[in-house]
């Protein structure tokens, strides 16, 4: 990947699209246009981008309540995402799920999830399916540091390691479980330290450096695809906003916030592009403009879309059972 200008542009494009989506979502929420809760990925863009850049179209991801970045990086359509945030019938869940339930099976996005740690169990199921179907697919499971105290984390790593499942567990350690600093919810500082307990490799990378994330993810995904089993990749990062929009985040020390803002992954990428990768400011601006235009279109699509009809309220609760499962 090193030195490939188009690859660098692609990485930046994804990061910038996530940044634009989240910035718009923040503003729209403040304007009262988005119902429910919104948990933003601002400051963590390098992780989803660096990881998903190494995935194929038919690979899977499981996500979290802070899932917009994962979904965009795995190819989700920002129009349908924004419509879902608006609660409109054209959204990914026909406007009935909202921010925390966006899924797109056609792109291997098994879904955002409002339950902390639930994606870990789901990814284990996905990994088992891949194993049973004997394909070379991989499942990436994104989760935060707070969820690594849940039973789901330990049970999933245990099963995944026993069965050698093709899963990459990506811990987005942003230092907080809601408002609780990591130092007050677990004794370990590096979640990766928990990997050896399950007999799998664990590594720590700078989660605000898209290249560091991508290099580690590439190796972990390769291991999974080659049948060598799961890996735990811990990405150190920082949530620039509160836990959810509207959370004033008074629990975050000012100096800490300022120090991490200096390590902003998007700004770091722009600096690298201009100083090291032969990009001009005009080329960077073009990517920014395209992301802004895309989001304007997505917001218009969402605003122009209808709300779901009341009589569809109980539709889409259950999917039809798959016939091959019924026979069992």
């Amino acid at each position: 990947m090193a030195g490939k200008k188009e690859t660098i542009r692609d990485l930046y494009t994804t990061m910038r699209r996530i940044r634009e989506f989240e910035t718009c979502a923040s503003n729209l929420f403040a304007e009262g246009k988005i119902p429910g809760f919104v948990h933003l990925y601002l400051g963590e863009e390098a992780i989803a981008t660096g990881v998903c850049a190494n995935l194929k179209g038919d690979d899977y991801i499981t996500s979290t309540h802070r899932g917009h970045g994962h979904i965009i990086a795995k190819g989700g359509d920002t129009k349908f995402m924004m419509a879902e945030l608006f609660g409109k019938a054209t959204g990914y869940c026909r406007g009935k799920g909202g921010s925390m339930h966006i899924a797109d099976g056609s792109r291997g996005i098994i879904g955002a999830n409002g339950i902390v740690g639930a994606g870990q169990s789901i990814s284990t199921g996905v990994g088992l399916t891949i194993l049973l179907h004997k394909t070379d697919q991989v499942c990436v499971c994104f989760f935060g540091d707070g969820s690594t105290n849940q039973a789901t984390f330990h049970e999933s790593l245990n099963l995944a390691s026993i069965w050698n499942l093709p899963i990459v567990f990506v811990c987005e350690n942003n230092g907080y479980g809601i408002s609780l600093p990591q130092s007050k919810h677990q004794k370990v500082k590096d979640v990766a330290d928990r990997a050896p307990a399950y007999g799998i490799p664990g590594v720590v990378v700078d989660g605000n450096d898209v290249f560091a994330v991508s290099e580690a993810a590439a190796e972990a995904i390769k291991r999974a695809r080659e049948g060598k089993g799961p890996t735990l990749v811990e990405c150190k990062t920082y949530r620039q906003h509160g836990h959810f929009e509207g959370d004033p985040a008074i629990y975050k020390p000012k100096e800490e916030q300022e120090a991490w803002l200096k390590k902003d992954p998007v700004k770091r990428m722009v600096k690298y592009m201009l100083e090291e990768a032969d990009f001009t400011q005009a080329e960077v601006d073009a990517v920014d403009k395209a992301a802004q235009d895309e989001l304007k279109e997505a917001i218009k699509f969402a605003e122009d879309s209808p709300y779901p009809a009341p009589e569809t309220g109980v539709e889409d609760v259950y999917d039809d059972i798959v016939e091959e499962v019924r026979d069992r």
Binding site: A2, D190, D193, P201, V205, A212, E215, A216, E219
Partner: protein, 333 residues
């Protein structure tokens, strides 16, 4: 005299756990090692100990554990200094400890951690490097108890010259400006970003400069080491450059990873005589295994082997000298 302890909480966790079979050491094991060091110091003479503060709070955890065990912790102190969570914590802590005139600084980590501590040292403060990282040549695998014994003995000696040697270092200059140092090896690789820091692909290597090399080493100095042996006490260094028509060798570039490389003849580097190289592509210079210095095409890179490295403690020799001096004898029968 006091003793300084720098334990790097980040060592032993990088991408080498994926790309090679590198050792994993969790932070609690580092606490255990430091605890054993401190217990030995307390048992022998209860010197003052300064700890570098870190994100895992290794120093505080050790103090708490020992306090609960009923040990005298009155001489144990975690330095109050700003923390950045980067290698500069180690550089800064070493600098402060030297200003506090400690008799010895114990460093736990890999080659990179020892290099960071060396960057902070300006005088002849003895450095005792203990391995907790990977690909280590500089720090040695030594039991913590013995480390504590050696450090304490050292602080009681009038003349430490029999127990320490002045090390070499590699100075790296780009366009005439000194950019950084390495203790063991400086490896030019065809990367153009720092990324996950470590390098592990032999095909990207463009040149290796080593202050010492041996085929039994792990890391990039093992590559010239496959062709020639240069000891830590030899006043020379070496440079090798891949060459299609050269000699093919196998070397352990990482734990569990032997790679084949074809090299030109090793160029012996005399002390203080710079070796100049330029490359027509963007490169990174990895210092003791970690990408650090960016180089643009055509920029003049100079590598110089000097004797300006740290004053390294030889643990075994220190223990033997202490025994000769009667340091381990007790007054009561």
């Amino acid at each position: 005299m006091a003793i300084g302890i720098i334990a790097n909480p980040a060592s032993g966790k990088d991408i080498r756990r994926l790309v090679s079979s590198a050792t994993t050491i969790d932070n609690y094991e580092k606490v255990n090692i430091v605890e054993r060091i401190v217990k030995a110091v307390i048992a022998l003479s209860n010197e003052k100990i300064y700890f570098m503060p870190d994100s895992f709070m290794i120093g505080f955890t050790v103090i708490d554990d020992l306090k609960i065990s009923g040990e005298d912790v009155s001489n144990l102190e975690v330095l109050q200094m700003p923390m950045s969570g980067s290698m500069y914590d180690t550089v800064y802590a070493a600098e402060i400890m030297e200003q506090l005139e400690v008799g010895c600084i114990i460093v736990l980590g890999g080659d990179g951690t020892s290099r960071a501590a060396a960057k902070g040292l300006k005088r002849k403060t003895p450095l005792l490097s203990v391995s907790t990282g990977t690909n280590n040549v500089y720090p040695r695998l030594v039991e913590g108890t013995v480390v504590g014994m050696a450090a304490t003995a050292l602080t009681h000696m009038d003349d430490v010259s029999k127990c320490c040697i002045k090390d070499k270092r590699i100075e790296i200059y780009v366009n005439g400006v000194m950019k950084d140092i390495a203790l063991i090896d400086a490896t030019v690789s065809a990367d153009d970003y720092i990324g996950a820091r470590a390098i592990w692909e032999a095909k990207k290597i463009r040149a290796i400069v080593a202050s010492r090399c041996h085929p039994a080493s792990i890391g990039f100095s093992a590559i010239p080491g496959a062709m020639t042996i240069i000891k830590d006490t030899d006043d020379i260094g070496v440079c090798v450059i891949p060459s299609e028509n050269g000699t093919s060798v196998m070397a352990a570039i990482a734990a569990g990873t032997l790679e084949k490389m074809t090299l030109g003849d090793p160029v012996i580097m005399k002390l203080n005589e710079p070796l100049e190289l330029t490359f027509d592509e963007k490169c990174m210079i990895a210092l003791d295994g970690e990408r650090e210095v960016k180089v643009r095409p055509g920029e003049k890179i100079e590598f110089k082997i000097t004797k300006e490295g740290p004053y390294r403690v030889l643990v075994r020799e220190t223990i033997e000298e202490a025994q000769r001096l009667g340091f381990f004898r007790t007054k009561d029968k």
